[in-house]
């Protein structure tokens, strides 16, 4: 009974998730499936890593390492987990290790980042309606982005990952839970706390 259920579940994962199917084909020796996986995941994973690590060059290196690990440890993948969850878990672990190793550098960097007072929205009455205005708007937009980035970076590691997976990677609670090794309810709770912190931090932008 249990074995039959597992087979049915495995079959459903295979039919529902084309990435899992690709990974299983790669496990069976189809090298072109790996190229397809790299093509599908390199951009979304790079976005995930850049948001966590906030360093483009380091993110690209970590992305290479993540794909290398998928290649090397392909036999460890089990189709019970969605492939996207598995690869995000690998990338997230690499990012967390990198962040821990470079915590001191990041502290120094954060001292140079603009404070909320520096980046507070300016009075628009003074702005001249020219290209200068669009430049100012672009600068303001950049500052707002920096504020968002800094607010997310100020969250604890798990909350950061949860927000990025939920908001920017579009994952559901179950998949976020699998990636972070949390239950679904714990995932919801962590996300609630994270969004509450962000609301407090970005109050003046809302």
């Amino acid at each position: 009974m249990g074995a039959e259920l597992t087979v049915v579940l495995d079959a459903s994962v295979r039919t529902l998730d084309p990435d899992t199917e690709l990974m299983l084909r790669f496990q069976e020796g189809d090298a072109s499936s790996f190229d397809e996986i790299v093509a599908r995941y390199r951009k979304p994973l790079l976005g995930f890593l850049i948001r966590l690590v906030r360093d483009a060059a380091a993110s690209e290196e970590l992305l290479q390492e993540a794909f290398l690990r998928v290649y090397q440890h392909r036999s460890r993948y089990r189709p019970q987990a969605r492939f996207s969850t598995w690869i995000h878990q690998i990338a997230q672990n690499l990012a967390f290790n990198y962040m821990r190793d470079h915590r001191r550098d990041r502290l120094h960097d954060s001292l140079d980042e603009p404070t909320p007072e520096d980046t507070a929205p300016r009075e628009l009455a003074d702005l001249r309606p020219t290209t200068e205005q669009s430049m100012i708007e672009a600068t303001q937009r950049a500052r707002r982005q920096q504020r968002v980035q800094a607010a997310i970076a100020a969250l604890p590691e798990r909350q950061q990952a949860a927000v990025i997976l939920h908001k920017y990677q579009g994952m559901n609670y179950a998949d976020i839970g699998s990636t972070l090794k949390l239950s679904e309810s714990a995932t919801k709770s962590i996300l609630f706390r994270a969004y509450e912190s962000l609301r407090r931090e970005l109050k003046d932008l809302l």
Partner: protein, 146 residues
Amino acid sequence: MKPPVPDPGPDRLMQVLDEWQPTPELSPDFGLRLRRRILAAPAPLPWWSVSRLQWVAVAVLLVLIAGVGWYAHLRDTPAAAPATSAVIEAEMIAQPGPDSQAGAQLDPVMRDLQMLNRDGDLIEHLDFLSAGTGTTRIQDRVQNDD
């Protein structure tokens, strides 16, 4: 009096968060570098050789167990009995004096034999005890003494 500022809903927060859209661009040689790294990386070890150190530890443990077992076996096994002639020879060499400790350790049978050998003369002249006439002779001797 100012009206209370309505609490901005989660939608507004999501809109603000949407403003952070990094546009990641991979370097053009990303694929090439990845391929090179894959080729240069050592093949992953099979499960049985993942922890080579553990196998060494297991081997050392087995050798230790075998050594201890062998030692216990040797200790518990009695030493092989020496040949009978050697025993006799050893006992003859260790012929004890009357107050020798070695004599006390000898077999009781050997002790009896030694006693017979030592007191042979005396025992030879005790034959009168076995006959009924012995009593008469003693009585005669007592009378003669008187």
